[in-house]
Every structure is written in C-alpha cells, then in structure tokens.
C-alpha cells in the first residue's frame, strides 16, 4: 500500500517536472505576437519593436475585443463577451500561456519569428 502511494507520487512529480520543463523550453522563444480568429492570422505585432503602447480593435462576427500592445507585452484591454476571462488574464509577455477568448474564437500567442 505504502509503496504504491510512493510510486504514484513519484510518477506525478516526474510528469509535473516534464510539463514544467516543456512549458519553459517552449515559453520564452519569440517576440512576435499573433492574433488568431478561427485559426486564421488576423494581425501580428513584433513586441520587440513597439516604441509606444497602442491599441487596435478586433471586430468579427463573434464580437469585439480591444487589444493593447505595449513594449514586450500584449493584452486584451476590453471585450464585449460575457465572461471577461481574457481581460482578467492581463498582459502576456512570453509563449508559455496564450490568451484565449473562447466566445469570440480569438487566440493571442507569442511565437518565434521563424514559426
């Protein structure tokens, strides 16, 4: 019984370490923020080349998101969706975690320039 408990703890710890490793390895690469709607590239922004913060609006059949781009970071400043998850998430500056606005089929990811 005890050995089984140790086995599962060890297995999950190893999996978690792998997961963290994979995220970190994939994470920091790139400065190109890509805004996708329905999997199609809507707009891109090179976060390394942003001198002054600016905003743009993504308006689609699903709804409207206002995206704010600042030096090194990107965020959804405003959205007319019911849950506001993407707004609450705040700004992202690496590829570890994407911004997803599910109701509007919108994804913002930071990617490698070459990808």
């Amino acid at each position: 019984m005890k050995r089984k408990t140790v086995f599962w703890i060890a297995l999950f710890a190893a999996l978690a370490a792998l997961g963290v490793g994979a995220s970190v390895l994939h994470g920091p690469a790139g400065t190109r923020a890509v805004v996708y709607v329905d999997g199609e590239i809507y707009r891109t922004a090179d976060l390394a080349a942003v001198a002054a913060p600016y905003e743009f609006t993504v308006e689609t059949e699903y709804g409207r998101n206002t995206v704010r781009v600042s030096p090194g970071a990107i965020e959804v400043a405003e959205a007319d969706c019911p849950n506001q998850d993407c707004v609450k998430q705040g700004a992202i500056s690496d590829g570890a975690i994407p911004i997803v606005c599910l109701p509007h089929h919108l994804v913002i990811q930071i990617e490698d320039q070459n990808e």
Binding site: M1, K4, T5, W8, F12, L15, A16, L18, G19, V20, G21, A22, S23, H26, Y36, D38, G39, E40, C81, P82, N83, D85, C86, K88, Q89, G90, G95, A96, I97, P98, I99, V100, L102, P103, H105, L106, V107, Q109, E111
Partner: protein
C-alpha cells in the same frame, strides 16, 4: 442527490466568484469536483454523472453563455469517463490518484474544446502547463474527497448504530 447537486452548484458558483490566485485561463482548483468524486464513491457512477450533468446545465444558467456550457461539458464528460473507468482499480486510500487522472481528463477535454472552437491547433502548446495544473489541483481535490467520504461514512454509522 438533489442536496449534493445543490452543494456542487453552490461551490462551483462560489469558486467562480473568487478571483483566481493565478490569473491563468483554465487553472483553478475545481473544488466542485470534490462533490462529484465523493458522490461517485458513496452513491455510484451514474448518480455522480447525473449530479455533474445537472451542475453543468444549471451552472450555464448562472454563467449565462452557451459556449461556456459546451466547454464545461467537454471537461466534465471526459473527467467523469476517466474517473468512472478507473475508480474500481484503486483502493480508497488512493482516491486522490483517481482524482488526478480525472483532472487530467477534464483539462484535456477543455483543451480539445478550446482548440476545436478557435480552430487553433497550436493551443496544444498549452498542454504541458495544464498537465501540471491537473496534477496539483487533482491531488488536492482528491484528498478533499477522500476525507469527505471518510467523514460521511462515520457520520452515517453514528446515525444508525
């Protein structure tokens, strides 16, 4: 069962109101799953499925959006299927392992739904992070369910000596 449904729904709504400690989409403790798992052990798989289904449907009324119900359903269904499938394989002391696998199923379901809705397969890069989150949250809610099962059992014994 109705009581457990109400309990799960209440926990789910309450947890949604608490600002997440880490502002990351998809990462939350999933306290409501404590009830699902407890129901699965004490009442049975089908009963737990009913409670979960009611929570998803009623929860959508509170959240008030249709895409949320689909999302919630994808995670809930896969989580339930995984837990129902492996529940018999583990002794009660290892209930938290069942919970971890359930959490993985939940997150995988939501990731699949998100990738399908947004048609953005590169979302799967988010998978490893969600895996880590599932292990941590699944272990905690699983332990919670384990203690709740134990407490409810001893309470039942006291009621009917």
């Amino acid at each position: 069962m109705a009581l457990l449904t109400a309990l799960e729904l209440t926990i789910w709504v309450l947890e949604g109101q608490i600002p997440a400690p880490i502002p990351v989409p998809g990462v939350k403790l999933g306290l409501a799953s404590v009830v699902t798992l407890t129901a699965m052990v004490l009442l049975g798989r089908r009963e737990a499925g009913c409670i979960l289904l009611m929570r998803v449907v009623l929860g959508a009324l509170f959240a008030g959006s249709f895409s949320a119900i689909l999302f919630s359903m994808a995670g809930g269904a896969l989580s339930w299927a995984v837990m129902a499938g492996i529940l018999g394989l583990f002794p009660e002391k290892l209930l938290w392992v069942v919970s971890v696998f359930g959490a993985m199923g939940h997150n995988l379901g939501q990731l699949l739904a998100a990738a399908a809705v947004t048609k953005t397969p590169s979302l799967f890069w988010y998978g490893p992070a969600l895996l880590v989150s599932a292990i941590v949250t699944g272990a905690f809610t699983g332990l919670g369910a384990m203690y709740l099962v134990r407490a409810l059992r001893s309470y039942q014994k006291k009621q009917r000596p």
